[in-house]
């Protein structure tokens, strides 16, 4: 499928969306470069879907500007924005065949029958749907439906793809496979993707940039490596990575008035250090995770290779954090110091 997406950088300037008193999106500014795979990541209710829908044109911003390319699109209808969208529920037309579903955006635009059948065939080919063209969505598996939704999105050859948690209704195995396929699709189409998820694994593996959101604002924007290695706040540090980053109380690891964070792989059991109690030992096969309680608000996880001797539940231990891999955060604001 030959595809030349037009230039489609996206620029959000001071975008807010309020529903009554609720500030779903609060004064967000964000630049998405042309051909980026941008992930909007955050817990449910953080405003990521609303932000995506504002880009797609399904929500009108309460304030601010949305630019696509060199055009301010606040007053542009969704259909004229050169944006397509994949919904979490797939939103397929249940009474139309797979082929009719895929063709539909072209039909609406008045593309003639032969041409749109050809385009649908190509899109179906890309996504491995050729054998199912005559079926109704109801007769397909979840994964197949998800592909039909993708095919319907790509058939229009839009400059921007918006995706709202498109994998969340798939089972774990299929989700992992589809992740890789979406990345491949991004390479192949060479278009701008904006992808909403609450799953940090999807964010880390698929995006080339991640915007971490919380309570309607963006906490940090950066490459997956940036976000993982230099989290801008305690929230980001704890949201990204499984298990999350360990946060030590002020004054425990370093004699200073700030929080210290360390990834589990950089946290160790030792004979001296921060005193803690073993709360849980999990044998995962390839490694062992030891969850320790430091105090009522702080827990830390340590990773050990299989075969090592592990302390039993309830036994007292001491924790240390690698000198070179410490993250320091302000106690009040939670923001990164160094």
């Amino acid at each position: 499928m030959q595809y030349d997406a037009s230039v489609a950088s996206i620029r959000l300037v001071g975008v807010s969306k309020h529903f009554g008193d609720v500030k779903a999106v609060d004064n967000v500014s964000l630049d998405i470069a042309d051909r980026d795979f941008m992930i909007l990541l955050g817990p449910s209710g953080c405003g990521k879907s609303t932000l995506l829908r504002t880009i797609a044109g399904l929500e009108d911003p309460t304030a601010g500007e949305v630019w696509i390319g060199d055009k301010m699109v606040n007053d542009v209808e969704p259909k004229d924005r050169d944006v397509s969208m994949v919904f979490q529920s797939y939103a397929l037309y249940p009474h139309k065949s797979v082929q009719a579903n895929i063709e539909f955006p072209l039909k609406v635009r008045g593309v003639d029958k032969a041409e749109r059948a050809e385009a649908a065939k190509q899109a179906a080919e890309v996504l491995g749907l050729t054998p199912y063209l005559e079926r109704r969505p109801g007769a397909l598996s979840g994964g197949q439906r998800q592909r039909v939704a993708l095919a319907r999105a790509i058939v229009r050859q839009p400059a921007v793809f918006c995706m709202d948690e498109p994998l969340s209704n798939l089972d774990a195995k299929l989700r992992a496979e589809t992740r890789a396929e979406l990345v491949a699709l991004h390479h192949r189409l060479d278009a701008t993707f904006v992808y909403v998820t609450h799953d940090q694994v999807e964010a880390m593996t698929m995006g080339n940039r991640i915007a971490v959101m919380r309570d309607g604002i963006i906490e940090q924007v950066g490459t997956p490596k940036d976000v993982y290695d230099k989290p801008a706040s305690v929230f980001v540090a704890e949201f990204i990575g499984t298990p999350p980053m360990n946060i030590f109380p002020a004054g425990s690891v370093e004699a200073a008035d700030h929080l210290v964070g360390a990834r589990p792989e950089h946290t160790h059991l030792a004979t001296t250090g921060v005193a803690a109690t073993v709360a849980l030992v999990e044998h995962l096969g390839h490694e062992i995770q030891v969850v320790c309680t430091i105090d009522s608000e702080h827990r830390a996880t340590v990773r050990l290779p299989t075969g090592t001797e592990v302390p039993s539940n309830g036994s007292p231990v001491f924790l240390t954090a690698d000198e070179n891999h410490r993250h320091r955060f302000n106690v009040e604001t939670g923001l990164r110091i160094s």
């Binding site: 009108d60 309460t62 606040n74 007053d75």
Partner: protein, 303 residues
């Protein structure tokens, strides 16, 4: 601003889509209701023109009048005849036909068949059965020898039997409707409910009263409400079978017939017709509120 315009942009479309319905409903439902309330305290000439107010006391006068009270009593009797009997027969037929046996479709079709009769068709069929000179029963000599009332004065002309006769015709006409509804209700009862009751050792009658009836109670409530409101609004039967008579007792002059009947004493008085119509509205409103409250507590809508 885009923000405002999107919310307001759809107003013309909404107006175009709702306008026609709204116009019709306002003109032919709400306006007439309001106008009837107003007209109910007026008196008009025979052509229904030149109405002038005679005061709201007209409503109390109507309520106090013998004719209204009589018509209301006839209506209540008519409902008390047709609703319970119709309901019991409908449930009985539905239970009888609720088995996967050969030929059951045939019986179900017959039991449903009266749904195809309009009030005029049904009433004329019964008129031909009951009419004292050309009617079927009147021409079976062995029958009217036992029951002389069939021929003299005729079941529809005897003040003792007229309302029952009209009621039976009405029950017959509604039977198909009741049967179809109750059958649909029975079929929605999960089979496991019967089987578990059976395993618990409940006999046929116990299963029916303890499992079937409670589970179809929403259907029964709905059917009762519809049958009652049909009984209160019955008109065609009286118009075709008895003309509200026999006179002088006006044994089948129901409230609706009192308003619209061609032999009603108020047929040329728009003001009084409106007053009675408004009272009928109030009665029906109170009645359905009552039914939903009284019955509602004992209805099981399932979990």
């Amino acid at each position: 601003m885009a923000i405002k315009s999107r919310r307001l942009r759809e107003i013309p479309l909404a107006f175009a889509m709702l306008g026609p319905s709204l116009l019709v409903l306002l003109t032919f439902v709400l306006y007439p209701l309001g106008k009837a309330v107003w007209l109910g305290q007026q008196t008009c000439d025979v052509q229904g023109k030149n109405c002038k107010s005679v005061g709201w006391g007209q409503y109390t006068n109507v309520i106090k009048s013998d004719q209204f009270q009589h018509a209301l009593w006839v209506t209540v009797k008519f409902a008390m005849i047709t609703v319970p009997i119709g309901l019991v027969l409908g449930v009985g037929l539905a239970v009888l036909a609720d088995k996967q046996l050969r030929g059951m479709r045939f019986f179900r079709t017959i039991f449903s068949s009266t749904i195809a009769t309009s009030v005029a068709v049904a009433s004329l069929m019964w008129l031909f059965l009951l009419q004292p000179s050309v009617g079927v029963l009147a021409n079976l000599s062995w029958l009217h020898n036992i029951f002389p009332v069939i021929k003299e004065p005729g079941l529809l002309n005897d003040s003792g039997t007229a309302l029952w006769s009209v009621g039976i015709s009405s029950i017959w006409a509604n039977l198909g409707f009741t049967f179809i509804l109750v059958t649909a209700g029975l079929q929605s009862v999960p089979k496991e409910m019967h089987e578990s009751a059976y395993v618990d050792g409940a006999g046929g009658w116990m299963r029916f009263t303890n499992v079937t009836l409670p589970l179809i109670s929403p259907t029964l409530l709905f059917t009762t409400v519809v049958l009652t409101s049909r009984a209160f609004q019955a008109y065609g039967e009286m118009d075709l079978l008895t003309n509200g008579g026999p006179i002088p007792q006006d044994s089948t002059t129901t409230v609706t017939y009192l308003i619209y009947g061609s032999s009603s004493i108020i047929k040329n008085n728009d003001g009084l017709q409106a007053a009675v119509a408004v009272l009928l509205f109030v009665i029906l409103l109170a009645l359905s509120a009552l039914q939903f409250r009284g019955f509602g507590k004992r209805v099981h809508y399932g979990s």
